[in-house]
């Protein structure tokens, strides 16, 4: 497969995956609805979005989430710690999805398999988090009385 054909097929496969997984990310948000927006704030969700967007490796995302879980544990907020641990598991499982997608995309010669897998895993995590943030805010609108404007 030529590099251009690979890139086009990759783009289409990721788009289809994202549309398919939007409902799954929404289910995650719904199952943690009781923590929103007080225990897990919109600012924290946006922070997660920024980290996921700018991460160079999937491990950067995992490190951020692990750190959030540790902070919550130290503060005795076990429900919040549970949220971050659940999210770490949910995003971690996307590695299998990335592997399955890669199998349908024969890599161009000279491509590093591990790099390709990690990049795809990171991309899927970013899309999952995009859906998660949108759905979390959708059902728990910013409180007017808080006087804060989210970005």
């Amino acid at each position: 497969m030529s590099e251009l054909a690979y890139l086009l097929k990759r783009k289409q496969s990721i788009a289809a995956w994202s549309d398919r997984w939007q409902a799954e990310a929404a289910r995650f948000a719904d199952s943690h609805r009781d923590l929103l927006p007080k225990r897990i704030t919109n600012a924290q969700l946006y922070g997660l979005g920024n980290v996921v967007h700018s991460a160079g490796r999937y491990a950067d995302i995992e490190r951020f989430i692990h750190h959030q879980a540790e902070k919550a544990e130290r503060a005795g907020r076990l429900d919040v710690q549970g949220y971050w641990n659940d999210l770490k598991d949910a995003l971690g499982k996307l590695r299998n999805e990335a592997q399955a997608l890669l199998k349908t995309l024969p890599l161009p010669a000279g491509t590093d398999n591990w790099e390709a897998l990690d990049a795809l895993h990171r991309e899927l995590a970013e899309l999952y988090v995009q859906h998660l943030i949108a759905h979390s805010l959708y059902w728990t609108p910013v409180q007017e009385e808080s006087g804060r404007r989210e970005r």
Partner: protein, 143 residues
């Protein structure tokens, strides 16, 4: 031209016709949304922003995520959250999947991603009508 190529062109033409027919059907419904939206504080930049996003993205979920975020951020309920307009629009766009399914079933096509791509095209058509009606109605009001 080979037999297969002729069949592909015929399918493509049939698909475009089905999309055009649906698009015409959406005009009235899109107008009703535009009528409601001109009663909000939204301006044409925001409606155009949605239309532009729809015409450039390759994912339906990007469109609904965009709307969900704006509904969630509208704490004063003067824009996308006013009287549930944003939520209704999210449901409307998601519901277009049923039309996409019917169109693709009628084609007898084997492409597993075709239904999603048709759904995206239908969302674009719907939002194109909505944006046009919105601008027209907004201009009428400001006259």
């Amino acid at each position: 031209m080979s037999e297969q190529a002729v069949q592909e062109v015929a399918l493509r033409v049939a698909l475009e016709r089905a999309l055009a027919r649906k698009s015409d059907e959406y005009d009235q419904s899109a107008r009703r949304y535009a009528d409601q939206l001109v009663g909000t504080k939204l301006d044409k930049t925001q409606i155009r922003g949605l239309e532009t996003l729809a015409s450039t993205t390759d994912k339906v979920s990007d469109i609904t995520d965009w709307l969900k975020l704006r509904v969630g951020r509208d704490s004063k309920r003067e824009g996308w959250a006013k009287e549930g307009i944003g939520r209704d629009l999210v449901n409307e766009l998601e519901g277009l999947r049923n039309d996409a399914k019917k169109i693709v079933q009628g084609m007898g096509q084997g492409d597993p991603d075709l239904e999603r791509q048709v759904h995206l095209r239908l969302c674009r058509e719907f939002l194109k009508h909505l944006a046009a009606h919105f601008e027209y109605l907004k201009a009428e009001r400001e006259r």
